[in-house]
């Protein structure tokens, strides 16, 4: 994943990355998460930034720390489902706000989304 220096703070980009990985199942429930040092190396960011991101992910219960201080993806299906919903809502809201200046109605937009879906998955 490429970190960009823009309006989104780095730690938030890391959180977003993990949220998507967990929601999509790329990171499976119960899977071990790499060490902070390795993640920092991978993303090429400051380890404290990684730690901050992981802390927030843990606060939201998407990951947890076990006795050995290793971090793991939650195994709680409900939480993961909740995360997926949260992400879809977030993307949807962004999308809706993003096209708001184009002046289409809700029905027109839904119809175009439906058509675009066919194109993507044909």
């Amino acid at each position: 994943m490429k970190i960009t220096m823009g309006s989104i703070p780095i730690y938030r980009q890391i959180i977003d990355y993990f949220e998507l990985e967990i929601a999509s199942g790329s990171l499976e429930p119960g899977e071990k998460i790499d060490s902070i040092r390795n993640l920092a190396q991978q993303f090429k960011v400051n380890p404290n930034t990684v730690q901050k991101a992981l802390l927030e992910l843990e606060r939201d219960n998407y990951i947890y720390t076990d006795r050995t201080n290793g971090k793991f993806v939650t195994e709680n299906e409900e939480i993961i489902t909740g995360l997926k919903k949260m992400l879809i809502e977030r993307f949807a809201t962004e999308f809706i706000k993003g096209i708001s200046r184009l002046g289409f109605t809700k029905e027109e937009v839904l119809h175009m989304v439906s058509e675009a879906w066919e194109v993507v998955y044909e």
């Binding site: 780095i10 390795n38 920092a40 960011v45 400051n46």
Partner: protein, 235 residues
Amino acid sequence: MNNIIEIKHLNKNYGKYDILKDVNLNLDQGKIVGLCGPNGAGKTTLIKILSGLLRAYEGEVLVDGQPIGKNSKALISYLPDIHYFDDSITAKKADSLYKDMYADYDSQIFLELLEKMKLDYDQPLKKMSKGMKEKFQLALCLSRQAEIYLIDEPIAGVDPASRDLIIETILGTYHEDALIIISTHLIQDIEAVLDEVIFLKEGEVMLHENCDELRERTGQSVNEVFREVFRWSEN
């Protein structure tokens, strides 16, 4: 975390040239700090004072509460921006020297880094390309599990691919809870790695701030703030 480096009213001149003017800095352990400024701002001078190569200055410099001397040198792993080894030196000789002289040196890490960087244990420095020499020195510097790392311009004059390797290596090998000071004028490449940043302009500290706070305060990247402060075009 206490201040492992305390600098109070530091002034340094070379003859009639004032290089550092009333520098005051307090730096904590466990942070990666960028020392940023254009060439000639005094970055290398500041680093050389910390590492013990420049002993004539006014003001007070304390490393772990002590003045510069044998003890501070044992805590600091310094990577200069020049090639400071004799051309005939090999990794083997450097390994032996560091094993003997530095208690915090880990030969194992050095050997692993050499392998990662595809450097030969027995090859003399004079047979290495410039890039290889720099990687060699970096490997040696990072193989010490020091309390303070002073890294002077590690990525200037290096191709972009190697820059990534260097940053990754620093992040992967440094002693946790160490203070790392990276001096550079190429902020863009390194911004994401920094906890704090110091702007040095013509020997004076313009700014010393946590990067996240700086970004939040100004709404810009550190690089953008830097370019404003120094009115510099992209490098």
